[in-house]
């Protein structure tokens, strides 16, 4: 994994702590976090080492690396925590599983907390509901505050800072791409379907994933067609062309800053309803973290799949003659409460929907979750994606794999390609809406 250099860190407002200062700073931040985040304290202190999480974690099953077993991953932090923040740990040391930092600790944190996809599946099987994702989020935050983070994250954070989206798409390019997509839709449908950018006094603010303006164009087209048919007054803010919030994946302050962009854009463009696009963790961040990040949020907030499912009766489709299966993104199912809506939409758009096993809240992560999309980590990504590939194969012959999350859209095809299994189309759920839609002329 390529790590960000000091100059790169400074560009996004982080500083590199010298090696001698790192452990003290880590402890200081841990101490602050534990009293300001109940989850960290309770989850580190309540684990009884029952081991039920082991066989349920795709990361452990795929990599077969002991440190990827959720309780063991948490141990990387728990042992330090016990040593410094619990009486039994201070007094009895390794007898109770307490340990001091050594030269390898932070290196292990960097390695293993970036092999957790923050999928929360372990929490479904933990008797206490301990969420290793939460510990991973804290660990990554601490590391970033020490100046230790993947260059991949730094690059994205820099783009977010400069342009408000992960890819670094500046406003003129956004307008050009929107124009191009409008031309494509006109060619296809003969209709003047618009993708309005920065239109003031819009009722609906749609926040796409920036990837929808680069590779996952069909998702954007599906959404534009839907809004067109429904006749709503909508727009996309060029300042926040990003449903994703990578701050959630490596630094909580960056998360807060990006979340504020959302609130600002909604205010500036006068919207009443914010609709988030097909992005998993971005949905979790928007739905669950907005109030905590930036206080009261005076707008309605829904996900595009919720919106579409609610308005399905006003849309008309000619069902595609396809056999489709659905990958439930972790952040929709376990962390976001969106499970039946994509199914409702898919059933309206295609002839057959078959389920993977397990599905819904027990689904396995794609292996790219929490931004593990670095090219240099491809070998790890292949292992993290192994359970997912097995699930897909077990479904049998399909024409289309519905993947309503940008990170999954980047990970699953790449992994399937490596296994030589990309025999069918893969894309979002709104893509199907776009492909199946018929317009009353």
């Amino acid at each position: 994994m390529y790590v960000a250099k000091p100059a790169e860190l400074e560009a996004i407002g982080l500083t590199y702590s010298s090696e001698s200062a790192q452990t003290n700073r880590a402890l200081k931040i841990m101490s602050e976090l534990r009293t300001s985040m109940r989850s960290l304290m309770v989850m580190l202190e309540t684990c009884v080492k029952c081991g039920n999480c082991a066989q349920q974690c795709h990361s452990y099953l795929g990599t077969e690396d002991y440190n990827n077993f959720p309780a063991a991953r948490a141990e990387l932090m728990r042992r330090i925590y016990k040593k410094h923040f619990t009486w039994s740990g201070r007094i009895f040391g390794s007898f109770v599983g307490a340990e001091e930092f050594d030269e390898e600790t932070l290196g292990k944190w960097l390695t293993y907390f970036y092999q957790c996809n923050e999928c929360r599946r372990c929490a479904r099987f933990c008797p206490f509901g301990i969420d290793t994702a939460e510990i991973t989020i804290m660990a990554r935050h601490i590391l970033s505050e020490l100046g230790i983070l993947p260059r991949f994250m730094q690059g994205i954070a820099l783009n977010m800072q400069k342009t408000g989206n992960n890819m670094g798409i500046p406003q003129p390019a956004t307008l050009d791409s929107a124009q191009f997509m409008e031309d494509e839709m006109r060619e296809e449908t003969g209709l003047d379907i618009k993708i309005p950018i920065d239109k003031p006094n819009s009722d609906i603010l749609y926040i796409p994933s920036s990837a929808d303006f680069f590779t996952n164009v069909d998702t954007m087209l599906g959404v534009a067609k839907m809004f067109h048919v429904l006749g709503v007054n909508w727009t996309i803010p060029s300042t926040v062309l990003e449903a994703a919030n990578f701050g959630l994946l490596f630094n909580l302050q960056v998360m807060r800053t990006h979340n504020l962009r959302l609130k600002q854009a909604a205010k500036d463009l006068g919207a009443k309803l914010v609709v988030q696009g097909e992005c998993g963790h971005g949905w979790r961040a928007a739905k669950m973290y907005t109030e905590g990040c930036n206080g009261a949020f005076p707008f309605e907030l829904v996900h595009v799949l919720e919106y579409c499912a609610a308005h399905l009766d006003r849309l008309r489709f000619k069902r595609l003659p396809w056999r489709v299966t659905l990958h439930d993104p972790c952040n929709y199912s376990r962390a976001g409460g969106i499970v039946e809506q994509p199914r409702k939409i898919i059933r309206a758009c295609v002839e057959e929907l078959v389920e993977m096993t397990p599905n819904r809240e027990d689904n396995f992560c794609c292996g790219g979750g929490s931004g593990i999309l670095m090219d240099e980590m491809m070998d790890i990504r292949l292992k993290l994606g192994r359970k997912k590939v097995e699930q897909i194969q077990a479904v049998g012959d399909i024409d289309y794999l519905a993947i309503p999350c940008s990170i999954c859209k980047a990970q699953i095809p790449a992994v399937m390609k490596h296994y030589g299994l990309e025999k069918f189309e893969m894309g979002g759920v709104m893509d199907l809406v776009g492909k199946a839609m018929v317009f009353d002329q």
Binding site: S39, V42, E45, Q56, F125, F128, M288, R334
Partner: protein, 257 residues
């Protein structure tokens, strides 16, 4: 020595247990939950939350959905412990006559009390042994476990074994004297402890457990409720209702600590 173990130590143990557990829970509850960590599927109402959490306590559902063998022995261990504790309370208080309340004769009640007690004790003993064995036999679990994980099981085993010894060699046990002694403790009028060594050791081991409880992973008893309450919290509503605007969760000062 017996004076300390019989009339001082029990108070130390109970005070440390109660204040320690309260302290742990209060420290947890003092830390805010800035972001809802709802784990779906989540209940929509408070009653729903109580039901979900209650059912998890009763059935250990998450273990059932995972490793069934672990579920079996963990459930049996906790279940038999509950029966044992409950049985101690009613059995000692009524001097094994609790089943006369459902129409049995005192002698039959004593027999049933003994029967349930022995059964629960055996199940508890067996399950503790199996859980101990699992920790040594399953590779990942062995690697994950700390010495204290074995210590906790051994402490519980010692309590169960000493208790079973009392039950199975009941000729030496003067239950009325024990009841009288315990009543003295509870009413803050302590009297000398009955001088049966097996009772003293059993009782002292239990007090050690109580003393140890708030500093160990046994706090999971309370941690369970606190954590489950956190992950079953309702997701936020947008737009933020007017009533909540003032106290909406919000970290001041520009930084999330």
């Amino acid at each position: 020595m017996l004076f300390f173990l019989g009339q001082i130590f029990p108070y130390i143990a109970i005070i440390v247990f109660l204040t320690g557990m309260t302290w742990r829970v209060l420290i947890w509850l003092k830390a805010p939950v800035p972001f809802q960590l709802t784990l779906f599927p989540a209940p929509q109402t408070f009653a729903g939350r109580v039901r979900v959490i209650g059912w998890e306590i009763l059935s250990f559902k998450s273990l059932w959905r995972g490793d069934r063998t672990l579920w079996l022995w963990a459930w049996l261990m906790h279940g038999s412990l509950v029966l044992i504790i409950g049985g101690h309370i009613v059995g000692i208080y009524t001097l094994t006559r609790q089943f006369t309340l459902i129409g049995l004769s005192p002698a039959a009640s004593s027999a049933w009390s003994a029967g349930f007690g022995i059964a629960a004790g055996i199940i508890c003993f067996l399950s503790l042994m199996v859980l101990f064995y699992r920790r040594t036999a399953i590779t990942e679990l062995k690697r994950l476990s700390d010495p204290v994980d074995y210590f906790d099981l051994l402490l519980l085993l010692a309590i169960v074994i000493s208790g079973m010894h009392m039950r199975l060699t009941s000729l030496n046990i003067d239950l009325p004297a024990i009841r009288f002694y315990l009543a003295g403790i509870l009413t803050l009028h302590p009297i000398p402890i009955p001088r049966t060594w097996i009772f003293v050791s059993h009782f002292t081991l239990v007090n050690i457990l109580l003393l140890y409880f708030p500093f160990s992973k046994l706090v999971h008893a309370a941690g369970f409720v606190v954590n489950r309450a956190m992950v079953t919290e309702k997701p936020p509503i947008y737009p933020t209702p007017a009533s909540r605007v003032g106290e909406a969760r919000f970290k001041q000062g520009g930084r999330i600590e």
